[in-house]
Amino acid sequence: MNLKKINIENKKIKDLIPQALTVLALLSVIIYFATNAQINMGNRGISFGFGFLNQEASFDITFSMIEYDGSYSYGRAFLVGLLNTILVSVIGIFFATIIGVVVGVSRLSDNYLIAKVAEWYVEIFRNIPLILQIFFWYFAALRALPLPENGISFNDISFLTIKGWYVPKFIWTNFNIFLLSVIAALIAIYFINSYATKQREQFGKQLPTITISLATLILIPLITFLFLGVTLTFEYPVLKKLSSTVYTYEGGVSIIPELIALALALSMYTATFIAENVRAGILGVGKGQKEAAASIGLNKNQILKLVVMPQALRIIIPPTTNQYLNLTKNSSLAAAIAYPDIVLVFAGTALMQTGRAIEIISITMLTYLSLSISISMFMNWYNKKMAIKEK
């Protein structure tokens, strides 16, 4: 008994030693490089520190989701860049997923034309380097857009021009109340859905959950408009003459062409990979599953929703997570077309103006790492949720 215990402890220690040595070796390598860098920087009269983040940035940024101009700090500029990176990633992931699912399903279509078009789309867009696609959308496609004075008008409230897509601006009063009502509606929908599931499982009753949910989502916020003083008006963009041939739009919100081009390129490119994941996922569900589902009387939609998709998703989610991560990291190519993402604003302009290469590059790397890990964690959670639950 005693002997066995000692043996186990011995084994534990034996297992630990190589690991500890590895960690030690790794640490000493890192420390070696860090001290080396410090000495070299010291020799060249470069100081190390993050104090610059509080200094005035004194450069402007085209497009910002928070209040910013050159009188704010470098730290604020970092935040602007980070938010812009997140914005284009979210837009890119959203459209890449939609296009990817549509194209992936289309490739399996019985319709020859649809299947072939989807196949060609995938083969073309996944085989051209992304940076070229970004340049294509920015310089070739957007160059085809008209100058502001001949902008493509949508009902005279929105205009698409080479300088951007001008859309009406929403002007709210009591926006907080409206936001709360939307959250309340979402919570209500959650409870309605769990109630409906219980009803179905206990009594076999099918409730029209989608209709009820939609009605809730519309009705509750509508009440705030009618009784709680929430109003919404629009500010429309208006053409403005700057000189004899120079025009721009005033008012409204301008969606800059750099954002459009980048989001377009990222989603078109990443969608091809997601499409292949979707196709693989659907093909991965055994034929017998569909036949069995049909044999118990489920209709085509129910088969897809209740039998095929839950199983296909298990195959689709992990590789699609990779694509989401790729898209986020690829968004750093923004710098090539002047979209003010974190690389252009912070690892570009701010680095240049301060000369603090090591500090800024490490902050930027850490930021991308945290972004990727967040996406990864979310997708792992979702994957677990979708995984087979053994009862």
Binding site: T62, F139, S243, V246, P257, L351, M352, G355
Partner: protein, 348 residues
Amino acid sequence: MIKSIKTWVLVGLASLLLVACGQGGGGAGSKKSKTLDNTKKAGFVKCGVSQGLPGFSNADASGNWSGIDVDVCRAVAAAVLGDADKVKYTPLSAKERFTALTSGEIDVLARNTTWTLSRDADIGLTFVGVNFYDGQGFMVRKNSGINSVNDFKNGISACTNTGTTTELNMRDFFNSKNIKYEPIAFEKADEVVQAYDAGRCDTYTTDKSGLAAQRTKMSNPDEHKVLPETISKEPLGPVVRQGDAVWEDIVRWSLNTMIEAEEYGVNSSNASSLKDSENPAIKRLVGSEGELGAAFGLDNEWSLRIIEQVGNYGESYKKHIADTGILPNRGPNQLWTKGGILYVPPAR
């Protein structure tokens, strides 16, 4: 056994320490330059240039670099190695340039770089002089009806390069005029030109020499013009790493030699025949009087080689800037004796 190993290690460490001390002591007093030694050993001058700016540093189809910035590198190579062609050029973006210099990838940065206080003092660099006095300007379309910066109105969009002083000057300028503008900053000059040419922005702003040079790249150069106003001082000059005073002096005086040579009428074709000149200043320039080269560990003909192989400043300007049609008029880049502001300390 164990003891003997210990002793050996101790002896080894002690001798290492001694060697280290010896080196430290020797280095402090003498006129040794690590950069100069390394350059002589390598056999070429490591020079950082632009990615292509006509007149300043531009590579032709067969990869030969030329321009007035390139001539600074060539002058250093002629002085140090005796051959102006022994230069290794590294094209750098505005963003990369200082890191390349501080990390030792290059030893001279001659890349139309503006001399500012923060760059000089903050990031381990030293500016050695000015080889081109420039100023920031604006380019617009001729038919735009904009004839002066006073015609700019709220909502104007301006394209420029990121990581440059122009990006900061632009903000200062528009703020002082109380004009709301849309800044669009690209990483590479070529993309700025393309975006402006396509109509993405109403004006393109950078150094005036740059505007003149980039205009030649537009799809229709005659449709564009540079506004008369200059909104900033942009003294462009070569840069070296901080901490090697001898190397700094070599680069500084290589540039100064070219300017002084023009002042005294010494050029690439008459330099060797002026060895017996009656003017001592000229004799010092061509190396027949004084021991000026010894001050930074070079022979006495270093300046003669610069003038013979690269030419004086005026020759360089004429060849790269004036004859190429970029800026035919020398403006401030004329000698102080002829109404310009080129004035260098005497070489004596």
